[in-house]
Amino acid sequence: MEKSAGKSAKFRLMGKKKRKDLLFAVILLLPTFYILFKTFLFPIYQSLVWSMYKYHMLDGSDVVFVGFSNFTALFKNHDFWTATYFTGYFTVISTVAELVLGLFSALLLNQMFRGRVFFRMIIIIPWAMLTLVNGLLWKWIFQPGNGSFTIILKKIHVLSASENPLWLADAHNIINSVVVADVWKMTPFMTLLLLAGLQAIPSTLYEAAMMDGAGFWKKLWYVTIPQLFPILMIAVVLRTIAAFRVYDILTVFTGDPTTSISYLTFNKAFRYFYLGEASAMAWVSTAIILVFIVLYIRMLKKNSHEV
């Protein structure tokens, strides 16, 4: 902080250089700012405006200002609450599962052993796969009858030969399968993020813990988790933000748009072309995500000051 204060004083003395710097920065940033303004900030503002209008894109009806009635209609809509429930369910379950599995994978991969690079490389494969193909692959695995999940369960005699459960029968089962697909794809992301954090923990802390006779769980609980906490929190917030937007995988598993807010919003906009209502719904998601973004930025700032 002091350093930057000193710097800005220096810049005040060199007024000409400062002005030249400003001009240079403006020239470098202008294209980016123009594009981001035109295709990002303005559309977000525009969808806020649309959310207060009755706006149907295709039927040629007039665009009418309706105030907050799109929002009140939304909050009375049963489908919206179903979608919110499923989105929340998906976000919590998948984030927790990815956190736990990712932490243990990171602990494994942080140790010294032969072929470590190989193991670290293969875990990136699921993460690199197309999200859509990931969805289709798991849908194939969960097929009744000839899907591999059923076949394997029969081979290890969990299921008898005559049983043939429908794994994707109702919305809850579908969401659970989507959670499995998402966990398979995104746990590597968590692992790599936490691995970077684990490597920064000084070994002296573990040595001290070992002197005190701490075993695996005690080391994990008293050294690893407290030391890793800032990165754990960042990873959780990042995954929450990403999981909240789930859409691709769902469209593969089901035609039912009430399984996520994104799905419902997308259908409202591009199947029925109610842009006003869709914008209202999009803004509900945006507002929820904004809360998490503020949280995330505060954590980042706090970390960079403490270290």
Binding site: T32, T39, P43, F119, W184, F189, G197, F266, I289, L300
Partner: protein
């Protein structure tokens, strides 16, 4: 002054730890897990990671009858599904989709890199007011869901993009309607890859010592010259990481593609594969073959350029 985040610091520690560790072979105090449990864990990890991927491949080289009768491993492997994929009914569309995917990903990556390099240089090396606030605004944009801008962007693409002088009616440039063209995808993907590209690259540019650049300027280099001769060559790992993330994002994106594309003039691979799902039955052989082909480029890129991805993940806090 913008401080490097904890992740950016940990990259440096990471390198130091790896160097220290490789010189030691005895059990270290940081090794929490005993060898027996370690290998149990690793075998489980490898199994759960690889089995579904291998199953995708083995399904794609199986005969349809074998898939229907529930063989996990093909008894008589065949390339029939791949043959059908590239010569059968939907072959022209699938090949067009591959071409579109390649154009869209490369176009997005090149556009993003050019814009982001200049922006990141300004953010990391030039002093100007509100620099930090602008940088955090960019970060916030990186995390906003694409659903918040999709409807206005759709209308913009339908009407064509016009570039006008603000507060006047003077239009400098008016594009034709862009729906169902690769341009609509390149532009919208550039929009949401720019923020994270700027965020990652600013972090990398900041690690380059100021003294290097000052020395170049004393030697008679202009600021632009020092960007191209000093900063860009030294920040290559960061630029590579950004390029990989942008490529993967553009290759993977589904929501915008399904809203903006209608015909095989602009449909990308995820859309083409989505369309394998028929109304009643799914041709799993064809679908797994298409899925495997489409996944191969990103998987190969990630495995071979693994170290850049790890550096970028640690340095940038990428959302996906």
């Amino acid at each position: 002054m913008f401080e490097p985040t904890i992740e950016q610091r940990s990259v440096k520690n990471d390198i130091a730890t790896v160097k220290r560790k490789s010189s030691l072979f005895k059990v270290k105090s940081t090794d929490l897990i005993s060898p027996f449990y370690l290998w149990c864990g690793l075998i489980l990890l490898a199994l759960f990671t690889l089995a579904p991927f291998v199953y995708l491949f083995t399904s794609s080289i199986s005969k349809t009858e074998e898939l229907l009768s529930g063989h996990l491993v093909p008894h008589s492997p065949t390339l029939e599904n791949y043959y059908r994929l590239f010569t059968g009914n939907g072959a022209a569309e699938f090949i067009a989709a591959m071409k579109n995917s390649i154009i869209v990903s490369l176009g997005t990556t090149v556009g993003t890199l050019i814009l982001a390099i200049f922006a990141s240089y300004a953010f990391s090396k030039v002093m100007f007011p509100f620099r930090n606030s602008a940088l955090f605004t960019v970060l916030a944009m990186q995390l906003l869901p694409s659903i918040s801008i999709i409807a206005p962007l759709y209308v913009m693409m339908r009407n064509g993009i016009s570039i006008a002088i603000p507060f006047t009616n003077v239009i400098l440039f008016q594009s034709p309607p862009l729906l169902d063209t690769v341009w609509s995808l390149i532009i919208s993907y550039t929009t949401f890859s720019l923020p994270f590209a700027i965020w990652i690259m600013t972090g990398y540019f900041q690690t380059i010592p100021k003294a290097l650049e000052e020395a170049a300027i004393i030697d008679g280099c202009s600021r632009m010259g020092s960007l191209f001769r000093i900063i860009i060559p030294l920040a290559m790992p960061g630029i590579a990481a950004t390029a990989i993330f942008t490529l993967l994002l553009a290759w993977d994106e589904f929501m915008f593609a399904s809203a903006f594309t209608q015909s095989f003039a602009s449909k990308t691979l995820p859309i083409a594969i989505r369309e394998f799902i028929g109304k009643h039955n799914i041709d799993w052989g064809l679908m797994t073959a298409g899925g495997f082909i489409a996944s191969l480029p990103p998987v190969l890129v990630s495995v071979f350029l693994y170290k850049y991805i790890v550096g970028g993940l640690a340095g940038g806090g990428v959302k996906e």
